[in-house]
Amino acid sequence: MKYSKDQTQALLLKIENSLKSYLLKNNIEKPIIIGVHTGGVWIADWLQKRLGYEGRAATLNISFYRDDFSKVGVNPTVEPTEMPVSVDDKHIILVDDVLFTGRTTRAAINEIFDFGRPLSVTLVVLVERNGNELPISADITGEKLELDNNKNIKLLGPDPMILEVVDKDN
Amino acid sequence: MNDLIIKSGNLVNPGGDISGVHDIYIKDGIIIGIDEDTTKLNSPEIIDAEDCIVCPGLVDLSVRFREPGLEKEATILSESKAAVSSGVTTVCYMPDTQPIIDTPAQIKLVEDIFKTVNLCKVKVLASLTKDLDGNRISPMMELKQAGAIALTNCYNPIKDLLVLRRAMEYASGHEITIFYQPQNNCLANYGCVHEGKISNKLGLPGIPSAAESIAVAEAILLSKLTGVKLHLCRISCLESIMLIKNAHSTGIKVTADVAIHQLFFDENSINNFNNDFHVMPPFRSSEDLAEIRSAISKKIITAICSDHQPHNEDAKQAPFSDSQFGIASIEILFPLIMELVDLNIMDLNTAISKVTSNPAHILGIDTGIIKKGSSADICILKKEDWVFGQEKILSSGKNNPFIGKKFSSRVYKTICEGKIVYEHK
């Protein structure tokens, strides 16, 4: 199953609007937007632009923070983490494409804390699917999905961004 | 001891007058007749040797059975069993035991242990210098009278050429043979492999061929000066062969041997720091190997020995350069000789001469030939495919790169002084 370009765009707009009202409501100015590689970075960059902030979003590669290293090892071609400004006493908007088990988010939060002590971390995801294994949920979600265990959802991109549901073996 | 008749064997007897299919009659440890029972044997045991090769028992110019002193590595009993399983009936015993064999009492001790074990015969080499120190010559005549067959300084260096000259002169006066292991230790400089492709690749300290050939040249010239009977041990490189050939052509009567493993491997075998290939002198280049094979097929190198050096497991359990060198190969000496025949390196008669009549001739002893009246030291060999497996090793030393090798002939019976000392079952 594939979302259309427009369907995906609609979800993006939805999280953009939710984020805007969230920032307003919580009195957050100048948050740092951080995308998680790879899909999260595209969304974060898109949000960065839509919110009218300068430059590109910060990026996180959580490869070195994964908890399944003993099972799967590390992929040698990892994209770098780029954290251009200090996270100390900043509000963080953490962006990912899909929230599934929660382990990636756990690793991302760990990594952020290795850069300093943020004031808050807000999690924004395009899709939140069933299968959570940790007490982690998103603050802002484009859509919640119930998927079979043998399905994966992934974001194709960066331009245009399109969500796709595929069989796990693929 | 039973009287014996070896019937219908194919006699291969390089040093003797008789060969072909014959019956051999043995009484009281002596060959009393070929094809004729001269004294009427007393209910003799008959060995059917049809389709077998019957040849003189092998004479091995260099073995180390580690006794006395290093019985944890091997003993005369354990290694004698291995020796006779390969048809060896006479072994030359190297003096670098603990203590070193440099007195008549030491010679007697070793001879006595061999007598007790009673499997094969021993010829003891005593040390050329006291304590093998390379400096003070040993009481050569005393050692000779006590039974030393020749003198050697083993791997230990002689202090300088003057000492070597004097040792040779002294030995020459008493008609004593010197077994010389040619190596210039300054040039060898604590190396452990051939200086060349492999030493470069693995970063192991190398021994250049010149370390051997320079020592060969020195020894040859000194033997000419002193008139000593010189035997060069374990030749490994083509320059040495050239020098020996040259010596022969100018009338210098030097003899030489090569270790059996030097006819099978070159430096490339060490490949991945395989300690089983740590030997001294080291395996040289493929050109050297080819030249040695050629020299052995001619008359430049006349003898092949096992250079048997058993080690216990610990001695090889170390990084390459720290591990002990040497191969425990005596029990496959004969199968490997036959392999050389199969590889067309030598014909059968020449091959067998390298381990029987030729080494006996170097030692000046009356064995290595089957003839009426001589001691019945005989080996019977059968064509048979077999694999040299780890579990079959008789020697205490399992340090052997030939483990796993297939052979096409095996020793069927070994007879030493008329007694069957080994039978394959």
């Binding site: 590669n61 071609t77 850069f115 | 060349g196 099978f264 990084p319 350069s321």
Partner: protein
């Protein structure tokens, strides 16, 4: 005519170093590594280089793993960079300095290994004065322990070579277009040996070794390099010149006459900078003998990347440790 015998033993131990193209089990030498794996290590090291710039210089990748520095030979730099690399990966770390002479006598090397194995370590980083020691240890430890060679005799020092090529790539991304010279005591140098393999695998078209004939291995050309006795001729137009450390004891054993002549012939003096390519760099695995193989002016000058080599050493070793610890 070489009739080498095919024997039943497992001679293919090298194969087990590389479980697949992407996975290492042991890191013993460079000679048999596929090019793709070398590039993977460099790429991963690039990512790890960022970690050292973070306020918290640590990632939890190897948390719960125990790594042992097992050094049978003195070393400060290599030992410390391995320690930092392991600690930045959050591994538990243990330094064991063995007096080699002691292991030679009483306790054998194998006994030492057995004892450490009993402590359930995951990795040994080994430095040893005998060539082949790392290989030997890898053959004699239990299956689940990885061995990293931190220098064995004259044989190999693969992590140093990896950090050198990592540093080279920072300046010259295309290995196929550069000329590299290694200068000094090639004969006794494990760094040179590993570098020659690495550069060959990366298809560097012109690899040179420069030194007096006493310090050039006989037949070094077999390793795919050109040898030069004249340094000026050898470094001419080179993009990378790697100076090797000259051990003091070489002077007392007639390899070279004295420091003075050595410096004149093979020392990197400022005027030699004019001979190398315009963007050429000068490297040295350290520690530097100033005024013996390199002048202070060059060592501290803007063409020298000696300090970069040291800091790159940590990232490269992090990459090698994590790739060797993979399942």
């Amino acid at each position: 005519m070489s009739e080498n015998i095919e024997i039943g033993l497992d001679q293919n131990i090298k194969q087990s170093d590389i479980v697949s193209q992407k996975h290492l089990r042991h890191f013993l030498d460079i000679e048999n590594l596929p090019k793709s794996l070398i590039l993977d290590i460099l790429d991963l090291a690039e990512s790890f280089a960022g970690v050292s710039g973070q306020p918290v210089k640590k990632v939890p990748l190897l948390r719960g793993k125990t790594i042992v520095n097992l050094f049978f030979e003195a070393s400060t730099r290599t030992r410390t960079t391995f320690e930092l690399a392991a600690k930045r990966l959050s591994a538990d770390f243990l330094n064991i300095n063995m007096d080699y002479s002691a292991t030679r006598k009483g306790e054998t090397l194998l006994d030492t290994l057995r004892n450490l194995e009993a402590m359930h370590c995951d990795m040994f980083i080994v430095r040893h004065p005998s060539s082949g020691a790392a290989e030997f240890i890898s053959k004699n430890v239990s299956q689940n322990i990885s061995i990293i060679n931190a220098g064995d005799g004259r044989h190999a020092h693969p992590t140093q070579a990896m950090l050198d090529i990592f540093t080279i790539r920072k300046y010259f991304p295309d290995f196929k277009k550069i000329k590299v010279a290694i200068v000094g005591d090639i004969l006794h140098s494990r760094v040179a040996r590993s570098l020659m393999h690495a550069l060959r695998i990366l298809e560097v078209p012109d690899i040179r070794v420069i030194g007096p004939k006493t310090l050039l291995p006989n037949g070094v050309e077999h390793m795919g390099v050109t040898s030069y006795v004249d340094m000026d001729e050898g470094i001419k137009g080179c993009d990378v010149v790697i100076m090797l450390r000259l051990q003091n004891e070489r002077m007392n054993s007639s390899f070279i006459p004295d420091e003075h002549e050595y410096y004149n012939l093979y020392g990197f003096s400022p005027k030699r900078l004019d001979l190398i390519s315009k963007k050429g760099i000068v490297m040295h695995p350290g520690p530097v003998n100033r005024g013996v193989e390199i002048s202070s002016e060059v060592a501290d000058g803007d063409r020298s990347v000696i300090l970069q080599q040291v800091s790159n050493g940590i990232a490269v070793r992090m990459a090698i440790l994590s790739l060797s610890m993979q399942p």
